[in-house]
């Protein structure tokens, strides 16, 4: 079943056309990686999916419904698509636990004790339960990103969007975050991952989408796309990344 359908999406920042007629369908339970050079539009595409960016033309449908059709419903829609940012964006004035409960109590109107219970279960999943009361500013980058993943999971989203989740991390912390994302993929969650970690994309994805200069150049099974790309631009890009 299609959960997200992107059709003929276009976006420009002033004169610069960052997305040109993009069409992409994501199925329930599918893990799709978006790869491409910086400035290829992959992050912008991801941000359009939860309306952090406004697109100029085209439609995005979530479970068959145009996500822009009902402006009042934007906030409700956003609870269905969890976002994990490159720079974590944890709420710095709150503890780890509060980061995970604030959305539940304020947006979903869950009772406090229920919210705490769910938050602790997701913090356990990402291995951060012992830090529940710690201020987030005391954490390492890898720990912050794991908390950010728990915060997103607490809203019980249907889709998870990862915007370069490991790009801001020190190399020794990349592994712990990828491990968490891998375990989420194994649960059968629907995920769109923008990443520069090619080995990880190859291993975890059901489908890889290569973008360049605002268009989807090539997409397909990771095993095929990484080993025998058909388009020259894909070959050039991969030869720079895969050695």
């Amino acid at each position: 079943m299609n959960i997200i359908e992107i059709e003929h999406l276009s976006k420009r920042f002033d004169k610069l056309e960052v997305l040109k007629d993009i069409s992409l369908t994501i199925q329930e339970g599918e893990v799709v990686s978006l790869i491409g050079a910086s400035g290829s539009g992959k992050s912008t595409l991801l941000r359009c999916v939860n309306l952090l960016e406004v697109y100029d033309q085209g439609t995005i449908r979530f479970e068959g419904q145009d996500i822009r059709e009902n402006i009042k419903g934007i906030n409700a829609y956003r609870t269905h698509v969890g976002m994990i940012f490159q720079s974590f964006n944890l709420f710095n004035h709150m503890s780890v636990l509060e980061n995970c409960t604030i959305g539940q109590t304020q947006v979903l109107k869950r009772p406090k004790d229920e919210a705490v219970k769910l938050a602790l279960s997701f913090l356990t999943k990402v291995g951060m339960e012992s830090f529940a009361d710690a201020p987030v500013t005391k954490l390492s980058g890898g720990q912050k990103q794991r908390v950010a993943i728990a915060r997103a999971l607490c809203m019980e989203p249907r889709v998870l969007l990862f915007d370069e989740p490991t790009s801001a991390l020190d190399p020794e912390m990349v592994g712990e975050v990828l491990q968490v994302i891998r375990s989420l993929a194994d649960e059968g969650r629907t995920m769109i991952i923008v990443t520069h970690e090619m080995d990880f994309a190859k291993e975890v994805s059901d489908r890889v989408v290569f973008m360049d200069q605002g268009v989807i150049v090539e997409e397909g099974d990771p095993a095929l796309l990484f080993t025998s790309p058909t388009v020259q631009r894909t070959k050039d890009f991969l030869s720079r990344y895969l050695r």
Binding site: N75, R78, V81
Partner: protein, 259 residues
């Protein structure tokens, strides 16, 4: 207790303080009352206006909402510019006489009003700078978990913005302790007004104003110290944006140390 006014400066000052102590005390109380209430009311005005001035304009909004937001921004912008761009002494004279037929107010109430609206304009800029100094990722993270504008402001943006802006907010209070002195032009019996009264009785201007200066200094210095203690207490590490005095003063560099 001395019975005759000594001729030297310090002896004279001590004599004047002993003899006219109650007048100075009354003035000090009025000064503190106006400075404190003016700063607090001004902070609330500043919060309101500062938030209005930081409202996001979304291209997804309809035309009427966009128009309304722009209008509100224009009006609040005019308020801020007018009250920061004119001397408080002029505002005091103008507002006291212009609004007297409407409010039928006492000089004290008028004084508090003037300091409040004046401080409000500065606070608005402090709040706005505090909001803008936050990483925009904080806002995006709040929106991405489904928070609306109000929830984002209330739970994510403002708590951090106010903490970052606290040194500048406290500085407003210190400035107000000194600046209430201009209210003597409308006859508010604050410390400066009382000092001129005493000087008029004693004919010893420098001795009398030495007493006044020392009282002002004690007020501002102790306030500064108290604010520093509070600041240290709430200064748990904040990653984004300025958290300590020095950076905050840089960010809010358009502040008036003197006016």
């Amino acid at each position: 207790m001395l019975t005759k006014l000594p001729s030297d400066l310090f002896g004279g000052a001590l004599y004047i303080l002993q003899k006219y102590g109650p007048l100075f005390w009354a003035g000090t109380k009025t000064t503190l009352l106006i400075a404190l209430s003016g700063t607090i009311i001004g902070l609330f005005i500043g919060l309101g206006v500062g938030i209005l001035r930081s409202l996001p304009e979304s291209t997804m909004d309809n035309k009427f909402k966009t128009f309304l937001i722009r209008l509100v921004k224009l009006v609040s912008g005019i308020y801020v510019e007018v009250f920061r761009g004119t001397p408080m002494i002029v505002q005091a004279m103008f507002l006291f006489y212009a609004l007297r037929p409407v409010f039928h107010w006492t000089k004290l109430v008028a004084g508090i009003f003037v300091v409040s609206v004046n401080t409000g304009a500065y606070m608005a800029e402090i709040v706005r700078a505090g909001i803008q100094s936050l990483d925009k990722g904080q806002n995006e993270a709040a929106r991405s978990i489904g928070m609306n504008n109000f929830q984002t402001m209330r739970h994510v943006v403002l708590p951090q913005a106010i903490r970052n802006a606290f040194p500048a907010i406290g500085n407003e209070f210190v400035v107000n302790i000194k600046d209430t002195s201009v209210l003597n032009v409308i006859g508010v019996t604050e410390l400066y007004f009382q000092t001129t009264s005493v000087a008029g009785i004693t004919y010893r201007v420098q001795d009398t104003f030495l007493v006044s200066a020392i009282i002002y200094l004690i007020l501002t210095y102790s306030t500064t110290m108290i604010l520093k203690i509070i600041e240290r207490k709430m200064n748990m590490p904040v990653q984004n944006g300025p958290s300590s005095t020095s950076t905050a003063f840089l960010v809010f560099g358009n502040k008036r140390e003197e006016r």
